[in-house]
């Protein structure tokens, strides 16, 4: 099921468990399935004498439940006892053990995780063992918010990040864009100052997939927190790095976004030789991103020095984008064209009030 926040960072539809058709009705009560429990070793909590002191607490949705989930008897039994423990805030080993069962049934239940953390501290449990436990769970369910939060808490309590970078690298090797993994990685690096080898890690991943936007983001994260981009040497190194990646893979929005990102507040049109390099690339390595970058360069130039020739070039590129190279965004490029004309064109010089966006063109809009 794909819920709890945005789709990409929560459980995927494809990971839904199949309906269990193996339950067998024996003498009025349902047994767990043959496949996972062939010798019928599983006993419900309600039948275990060590739990007889506890009164199970069922869920109570009242007379008209909405979005009711039909739990199996096993599931309900575990959670009825979880609710019972919760009510009395019991601090015991049996409670701790039960949280693991509850988590296995639903690892997205944040109350279970919170209660488990309370018990970890109250019972002084072995946190190294907990690290092993949470490692396994994240490997199984890497897009669940609660498991990553739990890991962060344990790492903080241990004050030991030494396993993190390797662990996250492993998760990323399975899904190089897992947002939770990158978020945890940034937290660990920033909290424990583990910057030293991260640029190397970034370069390795960019070699594997130069279009991985998460890795470009990480590049910016590392550099902005270490050397920064103020020094001309670093800035130039990064600009050249970008252009080299673009030569290898021209149709890559991530590289162009990075290039624009590091230059946009430092004067896109003033970086020595850049415009020329981009115009050269336009002949052999053109893309909508290159052309958009050109427009932005021209716009930057116009802001500093409004020249008719520059404006014309900008308008031409917008036209080229709208009509040929990025037609899905045709209306946007035409809008941008009108906007540039309005800001820098002849009517701007006359001192008349600027219209911000002319009327949208006829056609396409509003089906109703």
């Amino acid at each position: 099921a794909t819920m709890s926040g945005l789709e990409e960072t929560s459980n995927e539809s494809s990971e839904l468990k199949e309906d269990n058709d193996f339950d067998v009705e024996v003498e009025g009560h349902v047994e767990v399935d043959y496949a996972s429990d062939p010798f019928r070793l599983y006993m419900f909590y309600r039948d275990r004498k060590e739990w007889a002191d506890l009164e199970p607490v069922p869920q109570d949705d009242g007379p008209n439940p909405v979005v009711k989930i039909a739990y199996s008897e096993k599931f309900s039994d575990v959670y009825d006892y979880f609710r019972a423990l919760l009510k009395k805030d019991e601090r015991s080993d049996r409670a701790f053990a039960l949280t693991a069962e509850a988590i296995e049934l639903n690892a997205a239940n944040y109350t279970v995780w919170h209660y488990r953390r309370v018990l970890l501290q109250a019972l002084q449990k072995d946190l190294r063992e907990e690290m092993r436990y949470i490692t396994d769970i994240i490997e199984e369910q890497p897009k669940n918010y609660q498991v990553w939060h739990h890991r962060r808490m344990v790492v903080e309590w241990l004050n030991d990040p030494s396993e993190e970078l390797e662990f996250i690298a492993d998760i990323l090797s399975q899904d190089a864009k897992n947002y939770h993994a990158w978020q945890h990685r940034q937290w660990v690096i920033q909290e424990y100052k583990l910057w030293d080898n991260e640029l190397e890690f970034v370069e390795k991943l960019l070699e594997e997939d130069v279009r991985n936007n998460s890795v470009w983001n990480q590049r910016h994260f590392v550099i902005s927190h270490t050397t920064g981009y103020s020094s001309p040497a670093i800035l130039d190194r990064e600009v050249q790095y970008c252009l080299n990646q673009i030569r290898k893979a021209p149709h890559n929005e991530s590289a162009w976004n990075y290039l624009k990102g590091i230059l946009q507040d430092r004067g896109m049109s003033s970086h020595p030789g850049l415009l020329e390099q981009v115009l050269e690339l336009k002949e052999t390595h053109c893309s909508p991103y290159l052309l958009a970058f050109l427009v932005d360069c021209y716009e930057d130039a116009l802001e500093n020095n409004n020249q008719k020739e520059t404006l014309n070039r900008a308008l031409e590129v917008c036209e080229y984008l709208a009509q040929e190279k990025d037609t899905i965004r045709k209306e946007y490029w035409l809008f941008l064209q009108r906007s540039l004309e309005s800001r820098f064109g002849p009517s701007a010089a006359s001192g008349e009030p600027l219209a911000d966006g002319t009327e949208p063109p006829a056609g396409q809009q509003e089906l109703s």
Binding site: S13, L86, K177, I328
Partner: protein, 363 residues
């Protein structure tokens, strides 16, 4: 306006309204055990279904009053001694085991507290169902909300602690907006966190330094709009850059991050953001519509993130909202910041007018 010929071409993929109505009806009834991971967020699932039915103008198929009662049973109310005020709000479900009750005082329980996303979807669901929020303890909700905001301006989801990020700022902004009371949050700090989440590429990440993403960009912009601070928090230059980042997300439908595959839900997250920034009109409606409809499940109804994938309530709802944004016939218009129909929004506005008129006689 489209010409009749264009309309005809558009309608080639047909929109199966009745299937979607039934999809949401089934969602509101019983889900199989494999949906267990949704237990603590059942209220949000209800919101998707109920708001989805509203967009379809099909709320008449459900029993509104029964649903309203169920939502109120999820309210965490103050106990007799009011010692739990900072934990008030709405629960996602009955999973903690509190006995069913629609009125106070609250029950003292060591682990019972509201969840910011449930308070948000609880309130919106009540509004959509036509409730007047008179049984909502607004002051308690706001106290619970306040307790969730951190020094850096972001919010946690629950008072026991959780991850903190821009999603919960959005939930908080919706709550304050609906209750017409911003005392539940420090707006300035929230704005600072939002600004700090802006990436070098001009989209917004979940927090500072994180990769920009369509969902978080929606949370950022929609929050600022609800606060009425969009142009105060962001310069015209920044807004233009954000517009560019968003509009580049369209591939056919929309994706959430550069170089990622498209996904139906981003037709709303990014589409609504573009609408709030006044440039949705410059997107390609036909390609967007074709993509969304390619993810329609013709058998069971609903929409999935990709074609030939299982539909789910979130994508079903946001797919509809995506279609509503482009003006699909027979779908209600959606308020792009609050993510409810304009009809439900008008109901809210009327309620708020009543509250202002009655100011002095508080609940």
């Amino acid at each position: 306006m489209l010409s009749p010929l264009q309309l005809e071409e558009f309608e080639q993929i047909d929109f199966l309204r009745d299937r979607h109505v039934r999809f949401f009806q089934r969602t509101l009834q019983v889900l199989p055990e494999r949906y267990a991971s949704l237990e603590t967020t059942r209220l949000t699932v209800m919101f998707f279904a109920v708001s989805g039915l509203d967009v379809l103008d099909a709320l008449d198929v459900i029993d509104r009053n029964n649903m309203i009662e169920w939502i109120y049973s999820l309210q965490v109310l103050p106990t007799e001694d009011q010692s739990n005020l900072s934990r008030c709000g709405f629960r996602g479900s009955s999973h903690i085991g509190i006995p069913y009750s629609v009125k106070g005082p609250g029950v003292l329980h060591p682990y019972d507290s509201g969840h910011v996303a449930m308070t948000y979807t609880g309130l919106t669901s009540l509004l959509i169902l036509g409730d007047d929020l008179s049984r909502v303890n607004k002051q308690a909700c706001l106290a619970g909300l306040k307790a969730l905001q951190l020094e850096d301006g972001s919010f946690c989801a629950v008072p026991e602690g959780s991850e903190n990020d821009i999603r919960f700022i959005y939930c908080a902004a919706c709550i304050c907006y609906m209750l017409d009371d911003w005392s539940g949050m420090d707006i300035q700090k929230a704005i600072e966190y939002i600004r700090g989440s802006m990436s070098y590429d001009n989209g917004f990440g979940q927090g500072a330094g994180l990769e920009s993403h369509g969902g978080w960009t929606f949370c950022a912009i929609a929050s600022l709009c609800l606060m009425g601070r969009l142009e105060e928090a962001l310069s015209q230059r920044e807004l233009d850059r954000i517009r560019r980042w968003c509009i580049m997300r369209q591939q056919s439908g929309f994706h959430g991050r550069p170089n990622k595959p498209v996904d139906t839900c981003y037709s709303f997250w990014v589409g609504a953001t573009l609408e709030l920034l006044d440039v949705f009109q410059y997107t390609n409606y036909e390609k967007n519509r074709n993509y969304i409809l390619s993810t329609q499940d013709r058998l069971v109804g609903g929409f999935a993130k990709w074609p030939d994938s299982h539909p789910d309530p979130l994508h079903a709802y946001l797919g509809l909202c995506g279609l509503s944004l482009i003006g699909e016939p027979n779908l209600r218009k959606v308020h792009p910041a609050l993510n409810i129909t304009q009809r439900a929004f008008q109901h809210l506005q009327q309620l708020q007018q009543t509250w202002r008129d009655n100011a002095g006689t508080c609940t």
